[in-house]
Each structure stands twice: as C-alpha cells, then as structure tokens.
C-alpha cells in the first residue's frame, strides 16, 4: 500500500518536472523515468517488509528528475543559442554585402596567396630527396673566373683530377653523358640521355636500387660485359614496369644488347648535364658503368661536359671542401696554364642545385607573401573596426534590451569565425588553383614536382594570424561597451575615437601595395623590353626539326648525302618557301656549341682578348630562312663542295672584334671544327644572332658550309608561307621517308622555342604580379572601407554643411582630400621603401634600373587614382541622402 502511494507521488513529481524538458524528447523522457520508477516499485514489493525509508527512497529518487530535466533544458538552450547566433550572424552579414564581400576577399586573398608561396618554398626546400643524407651530397662544377659564370660542366681531365686529389669527400662520382637513339619495336624512335658513371657515383648518392643491384666492382673494369641500370621512368615508360626484366638483356644504342642489373627508385632527380645556356637537359634515364678512362678523357681539359657528384666526408664542412677544391684548382692552373688559368671549382649542395634559379627569387617572394599577409591583417582589422564602430548603436541597443556582454562578444566571434572560415575556404581553392598554374609554368631549370601539395602548416599559420587579427578587431567594439561611454554611444550615435588607428592601417596597406606594385612593374617593364630584343633573325613562320646522326650515317660523306636528301624533301613540301640547316641552332632544345680559337692568316688576331669564336656549319638556305642579312660578300652556294676551296662566313660581331672595321672578306682564317682543322677564305659577313636567350649578347661566330664539314647532326629550319602552315608531323614524315628509323629529337616553331627561354621571367612576373595585384586589391578595399565608414559617420555633418550652403562638390572635395591625404602618406613611405628594396631585385631586371622613374610614376598615379575612386564612391553616396534624413537625430 505504502509502495503504491510513494510511486504515485514520484510519478506526479516527474510529470510536473517534465514541463522543463523540450517537447521533442519529453514523451521518451517521461517513459524512461516511469519505467525505472515502476521497476523499482516491483523490487520493493518483492521484499517481505519494505520499510518506510525504503518507500521514501522511491520518492527521493524521483527528485533526481529535476536536475536531469534542468540539465537537458540547459543543453537545449545552449544549442539553440549557437544556432541562433549563427543564424543571426548570417542575417547580419547578408544585410551588409559590401562588408561581407570585402572581408571574404581579404581572407581569401591573404590566406590563399601566402599559403601558395610557402607551399612552393616547401616543395623546393623541405621535400625529401631520394639520396641518403641529402645534406652531404654535393655537385661540383667548373667556375670561369673570367666570365664569372658558374655551374659549368666539368672537363673530363679536371673531373678525374678532382676525384683523385680531393680528400674532403667519401666518394667523388663522375658522370659522362651518353646519348643515343633508342629504337624499340613498335615505338617511335626515341633519343635518350644516359650516363656512364664511375664506381663512386652510386656510393656518393647512397640510393639503394628498387630492384636488382648496383654495378659490381668488376663491371667497372675495361672490357667487362655491357650492363645497365634503368631509371624508374624509363623502366615504366618503355619496359612496362616489369621487375622480371632484371637479369635479362635489352637492346639499346643501335641495337646493342645490355644486361639490366637494376632499377633505381622513382624520384631520383639529379638534373645533371647542364649546358652552357643554363638550361638543363632531360633527366638521365639509364646508367652504365664507365669502364676505365680513355687517354682522351684524361687529356681533355677544354671540352667541358662531364658532371661530378660527391659525398662530403663526415666532419668536413662545405667551406672546407670549397677551400680544398680551390687549392686543387690553383695547382691545376699552374700545371695546365693554357686551359685551366681561369677555371676554379664550385661546390653546390644537391638541394641548392635542384632549386635552380628560383632559389634567388624565393626570399623575395617570401617577403612579398609576408607583406601581403600583413596587409590582409591590417585590412581585416580595419574593416571590423569600422564596422564595429558603425554598430556601436546596435550593440548599445541590444545591451539596453538585456543582452549580456558575453552574448554580444560571442556574437562578434561567431561573425568573425564565419567570415574567416568561408574566406579561408575560398582561399584554399585559390591556393590549389595558383599551385596548379605554377606547376604548369614551371621553369625548366627547377626540379619541381608537377603537383605541389598545399602546405598544411602554412595554411594554418596564415589562417591563425588573420583570425587573431579578426578576433582582436572584432571584440574591441563589444568590449568597448562595458565602459560608461556606451551610454553616450546610445545617446549621440557618435563614432569611436579609433579613426587614427584605422588611418595608420591604411597607410601601412598603401605603402606595402606600392612596394609590391613597383616590384611587379619593374618586372613587367623588363619582360616587355626583353621581348622587344631583336634576336637577329625573324622568328615567325619558321619550324625547327633537330636530327642527330645515326649509325647508318657514320661517315661525313654519308651524312652530307643523307641531310641533303632530307633538305630536298622538306623544300619540296607544298607551302614551304625555303629550307636550310645548321649545326648549332639558336634557342634549340639541345644546343650544340662548338667554340675554339681563331687565327687570321696563321696568327691570332691582335685583339688582346681571347680569340674564341662559335663555329657552326650551315646547309641550304639557312640564312634566307632565318632572315639573317648578308652584310658583305656572298653566302654559300652549290659551288662550295667537299673538294672545292674551303670557305667561311663571319658574323658582324666577329668582323668588328677581330678585323677592327677592316673588311674581312678574302682574308684567310684558321679554326677547328669537330677535331678537323680548317684553313678557309672568308667570303662574306652576315648579321649577328642571339643563341641562348634574348637577354644574353650575341657572340662572334664563324660559319662553314656543311658540305665541307659533314661532321654531326643538323637542325633543320623551314620557312613556310604564313597562309598555309605545314604541319610539323608532315615534316617529320618527310624525314622518315628518307630513313624510317631516324630519330627526330625535337620539333617546334621557332617563336615557341624563344618563348620557352622566357619561362623563368614569365614565372617571376606571374607570381610577383599576382602578389602585387592582390595587395592592390586589398589596399583599395582598405581605403574604400575607411572612407565609406568615415563618410557614413559624417552624414549629419554633411547634411548640416549642405543646409548651410555648401555644394555637393565641396563635400566630395572634402572626402577626396581626406582619402588622398592618407594615400599620399602611404605612397611616400612606399616609394621610399621600394627604392630601398628594389636593389635586391636587380638581378631579375633587364633594360631598366631599379629606380625606373616611369614605373614609380605609374604606380604612384595608379594608387592615387584608386584612392580617389575609393573615396569618391562613398562621398557621392552620402550626398544622395536627403538632408532631412541625414540631419534627423534619432
């Protein structure tokens, strides 16, 4: 009986308390308590003698339903508040699309671009290399003290001496490029770069093979069998990535069989085989053992084409290694003064070598990224401060209506967070896009992965920094309310005294924008000037095909006949105006450069400087195709045969340098070309041509007719009528109609080849230009934000002025004056900084000085114009408000 009463009381209590539980879960909550209480009553009844206290215990338990229901209620309210805050924030943001858009832009651009550039730095500097202890792996290069050019390939004789004399290294490996045609059944003939390496080469790398083994010591001995290690790339692309290929024999190099002993892992990048232009040849695709040095190797100190990779001995610093190699270079210069007087050695860590030219630009770009992030933060702070001040009244009203300070602060935080997350997400999309563009633009000399991953830490830092700025600036107005002045804010509708801070932020933004825009402007000017450089030939409507000699054309006579046939076929194509060929093609992918001393009438020219000339052989209508002018004498023609008198042409620069204005025609010159000595009569002078890049000067050149050389492969140049461009494939097919297995190393249009050499400039321009554009955008948003806020605060003042007889122009003038004053200060600071900083970018410039007045003027005017526009808009908007409204005090 007593149990029943207790149960009834308990259930009544639970029922009353259930009112607290949100409706959605109320029935279930009731059911749970009822089930427990009833079950407990069952237990009580089962007892023989339930005592009073036991029955009371049932009621006591029911009392617990109150804290339970209260807890559930509180959670529900908190959740609802969060939802409410977010909803409110969204509504508030939607009512101010200008502010919201500006904030999103700032977050997106600030976070996006700084993350992108740090990701690039990361991919270059921090990415793991596929060698053991990468910091100890060095590349060694020749340095020419006369021309101050470094990173030059090494002459075999020097490389051998370095490797034998240097003690700073555990291993000094030598690599000799070995290129040949690879003809695999069922595939287009392919021209591949491989290397013959000495035994310490793989020791220096310390990379274990993926499959199989490295070469054995006896395989490096003269006369040992032919063995090969394939690169991962060649293995997968040409041999299907089948591990069972190890131990079998494959036909390489003119069908000769090699036994595959190993496969190297993917990602082994070395970018060796550097040529004189600074562009690197494709990655090595296979390695063979160098089986002993030839006498010619040991003696060769002038033809530099080997590469050296070394592993630094433990406990030896790079500086010590440099000092030792310096001393060895001095010894060699003494022993071989003719060849080594100006040659010293350069030690470059493998990582720095792989970073390429971007290594010089990267600090600049990182500085730009930091600057951009600062501007973004200034902007975030600025926009939020302005907006906060504008909302002082809203907050004051809400506080007066009973909103707690905590609630208001939370509201501001939610708003900032929403903006930051949305903006940051857009920013990350922007980052991915930027990185993809950078990946596509990547300069040839930079060993960048194709898809640069976004650096998570950089994104987090950029996001964090902007968030902190947003929180500080966002909270200021809310916290400000705790002061008594909140009451004043409510009463008068006046703004805050933080105008000075915002003005200073705008000045910072403008100054940073000036610095970055000046930088970008200088690069744009350089780029335009470089593209205007006349290479000495006309680049339009010319196609280039590079062919190398093959085992089927192994004598000069065979080569002359073969190449003449190809030339005839190409000339006969409909739409082809003229065709010619040359041994060293300007701007070609594989540039063959032959340089040697010149004698005039048996004596070195009395020029005082070194009489080195570039030498190449030409065939057909080469000069006519290239549009290189004939200045004096005649060009080669069909009367210049292998048996006729040896003849030569000289370039204008050679004529000036070696004949000092006298007519070189009919003088007798001596030079060497591919090991053969020539004693030729100069028959003409032709115009100068740039070979390597538009920003490098022309060299003195000597040409001889290919019919008298027959030395090596040729690059064909074909001029087509501009109306009917003949397809490159049609040209390739003409080659194959003469020899079906002849490799066409590269084909392309001449203007594209030139444009490829500008890829580095284009990359810098793109990245720095992007930064400059981003800061300009941010700075103009900043100026606009401050001016529009300041005018909105002064609406009453303007109304009063208008009522007192001021004209609209006066008001606009007033606002413009304020905007331009702020911007002017920023521009002045920025110009000063830019003058100071531009010096560091000097090596990137071409044809302009670091203080180019035109660039500075344009940038200054641009910024002032932007500031004027950004001030004009809010001013004109303020004028549209009816004075009867603007004067109303509410």
């Amino acid at each position: 009986m007593m149990v029943r009463l207790a149960l009834w009381l308990a259930l009544q209590f639970v029922r009353i308390v259930s009112g607290l539980v949100p409706r959605a879960g109320r029935v279930q909550w009731m059911r749970e308590w009822e089930a427990e209480l009833r079950q407990h009553a069952v237990y009580l009844r089962r007892r023989r003698h339930p005592t009073w206290t036991m029955n009371l215990g049932l009621v006591q338990r029911a009392l617990g339903a109150l804290p339970d229901a209260a807890w559930i209620r509180r959670q529900f309210t908190l959740d609802a508040d969060a939802v409410h805050d977010a909803g409110h924030a969204l509504r508030v943001l939607a009512t101010a699309p200008g502010f919201t858009g500006a904030m999103l832009l700032v977050f997106a651009v600030g976070i996006g671009s700084s993350t992108a550039i740090v990701s690039v730095a990361d991919a270059l500097f921090i990415r793991p290399l596929a060698v053991a202890q990468p910091d100890r792996v060095m590349t060694l290069w020749q340095f020419n003290r006369e021309t101050a050019k470094g990173r030059l390939d090494v002459a075999p004789g020097n490389a051998i001496d370095w490797s034998m004399r240097a003690r700073s290294f555990d291993a000094v490996g030598l690599a000799e490029p070995f290129m040949f045609n690879l003809n695999l059944a069922g595939r287009e003939p392919d021209y591949i770069v491989t290397a013959r390496v000495t035994e310490p080469f793989f020791t220096a790398l310390g990379t274990p093979p993926l499959h199989g083994r490295l070469f054995l010591s006896e395989e490096y001995r003269r006369g040992a069998g032919r063995v090969v290690i394939l690169s991962h790339e060649l293995w997968t692309s040409r041999f299907g990535g089948d591990p069972s290929i190890v131990g079998t024999s494959v036909r390489l190099e003119g069908g000769i069989a090699y036994t595959v002993v190993g496969i190297m892992p993917a990602g082994l990048e070395l970018r060796l085989f550097h040529d004189n232009s600074g562009a690197r040849r494709p990655e090595t695709r296979a390695w063979m053992p160098k089986q002993g040095f030839e006498d010619a190797d040991v003696a060769n100190r002038s033809g530099a084409f080997w590469n050296v990779v070394a592993r630094l001995r433990r406990g030896v610093s790079i500086e010590e290694a440099r000092a030792e190699l310096g001393a060895i270079s001095v010894q060699l210069a003494r022993e071989f003064p003719q060849t080594n007087a100006r040659i010293s050695a350069e030690v470059v860590p493998l990582r720095a070598h792989l970073t390429g030219s971007l290594g010089d630009v990267l600090p600049l770009l990182l500085a730009a990224a930091a600057m951009l992030l600062i501007v973004a933060c200034a902007n975030v702070a600025n926009l939020l401060l302005a907006r906060g001040a504008a909302r002082n009244r809203e907050f004051a009203v809400r506080q007066a209506l009973g909103a707690s300070r905590v609630r208001l602060v939370r509201q501001m935080l939610v708003e900032s967070l929403l903006l930051a997350v949305a903006g940051g997400s857009i920013g990350l999309i922007l980052t991915r896009w930027t990185l993809d563009v950078i990946g596509r633009l990547k300069p040839q000399d930079i060993a960048l992965v194709d898809r640069i991953p976004i650096d998570g830490r950089a994104a987090a830092i950029a996001f964090g920094v902007t968030m902190v700025a947003a929180v500080i600036a966002g909270l200021t107005p809310a916290l400000h309310l705790s002061r008594p002045s909140a009451v004043n804010a409510l009463r008068e509708g006046r703004g805050s005294p933080r105008r000075g801070v915002r003005g200073a932020l705008v000045v910072v933004e403008v100054a940073a924008a000036v610095v970055l825009t000046v930088g970008a402007g200088l690069l744009v000017r350089s780029f335009i000037l470089i593209q205007r450089v006349d290479p000495g030939f006309s680049r339009e409507d010319v196609s280039v095909l590079q062919l190398f000699s093959s085992p089927r054309t192994d004598t000069p006579a065979k080569r002359v006949v073969f190449y003449q046939q190809v030339l005839d076929r190409l000339s006969s194509l409909p739409g082809v105006l003229a065709a010619g060929a040359v041994t060293s093609m300007p701007f070609a992918e594989a540039r063959v450069i032959v340089r040697g001393p010149l004698t005039i009438s048996g004596r070195p020219p009395a020029s005082g400087e070194s009489a080195l000339v570039y030498t190449s052989a030409v065939s057909g209508d080469y000069f006519r195709v290239m549009d290189v002018p004939l200045i004096a004498g005649r060009l080669f023609d069909r009367t210049d045969t292998p048996t006729s008198r040896q003849v030569a042409l000289v370039s204008r620069r050679a004529a000036q340098q070696f004949w000092h204005g006298e007519d070189p025609v009919r003088s007798r010159i001596g030079f060497r070309f591919y090991g053969q000595a020539y004693d030729a009569e100069v028959v003409g002078v032709v115009g100068d041509v740039r070979h390597e890049a538009l920003d490098r000067p022309e060299a003195a050149e000597v040409f001889l007719p290919y019919s008298q050389a027959g030395s090596t492969g040729l690059s064909f140049v074909v001029r087509t009528a501009s109306a009917s461009p003949v397809s490159l494939q049609a040209m390739k097919e003409q080659v194959w109609s003469v020899d079906p297995i002849q490799t066409v190393y590269s084909v392309g249009r001449l203007d594209q080849l030139i444009s490829k050499t500008l890829v580095g400039q284009r990359f810098n321009l793109f990245v720095l230009g992007g930064f400059a554009l981003a800061t300009l955008l941010l700075a103009s948003a900043g100026v606009y934000g401050v001016m529009s806020f300041s005018t909105s605060q002064r609406t009453q003042e303007f109304g009063l002025r208008l009522a007192l007889g001021a004209t609209g122009r006066d008001i606009i003038g007033l606002v413009l004056g304020e905007g331009l004053k702020l911007t002017g200060v920023g521009v002045m600071i920025g110009v000063g900084l830019a003058l100071l900083l531009a010096r560091f970018a000097r090596q990137l410039l071409f044809g302009v000085t670091a203080s180019d007045p035109l660039t500075f003027a344009v940038v200054t005017l641009t910024l002032m114009a932007i500031a004027a526009a950004a001030s004009y808009l809010p001013a004109s908007r303020a004028l549209k408000i009816d004075p009867s409204i603007s004067l109303r005090v509410d």
Binding site: R31, R38, D68
Partner: protein, 105 residues
C-alpha cells in the same frame, strides 16, 4: 570530457554490465540527480549508446519499456584513463558485483 569520481563510478558500473539508470544508482550509491546528468553527458559525447527494452518484456511487466545504457568503444577507452585517476573503491566494486548477480538471476 570532464572526468570526475562520479563519472568514473558510472563508467565502472556500465563496464560491468549494469545497464539501467536506477541500477546504476544502486550500484554506485550516487543520488539520481547526479547519475542522470552524467548519463546524458556520456550519451551526448557518444561514450555510451542507448536502446529501449523489448516491448514484449515491458508488456509482461506492465510498465513502459526500460532504457538500456551500454558503454561504447570510446567510453571503454576513456574508462582506463578514469580508473587510473580515480581508483574505484573496493566497496563499490563488491556492490557492483553483487548487483550484477542479483539482476542476472
């Protein structure tokens, strides 16, 4: 998750197969006003999962179906930390053991 001694005791009871609200109160000796909010919190943080008793059983007993609480894997993991911080008193252990026997019979 804010770990307290009461939370630890509730987790311990749940880990030993005590699965109804009032049984947990009996096992831990904690008042109902403490145990229920703890259970709600654990459920919210997905440290326990809940289900309802079969309707057949409930009908037989002539009351609404009871609610079962069971430790989720995450809850099991956190119990280790909790036990390390608040050793469960022997008196509670034996109470839990006794109650489990009583309920299973």
């Amino acid at each position: 998750m804010n770990l307290t001694l009461p939370t630890t005791l509730v987790l311990h009871a749940l880990a030993n197969g005590i699965s109804h609200g009032f049984d947990i109160i009996d096992a831990t000796g904690l008042p109902s006003g403490t145990v229920y909010p703890i259970l709600r919190r654990l459920e919210r943080e997905r440290l326990v999962s809940t289900r309802w008793e079969d309707h057949e059983i409930a009908r037989e007993e002539q009351r609404p179906p009871r609610r079962y609480y069971e430790l989720a894997p995450a809850g099991r993991a956190i119990l280790e930390t909790a036990r390390a911080r608040y050793p469960v008193p022997a008196s509670i252990r034996s109470r839990v053991r006794r109650l489990r026997l009583a309920r299973s019979s």
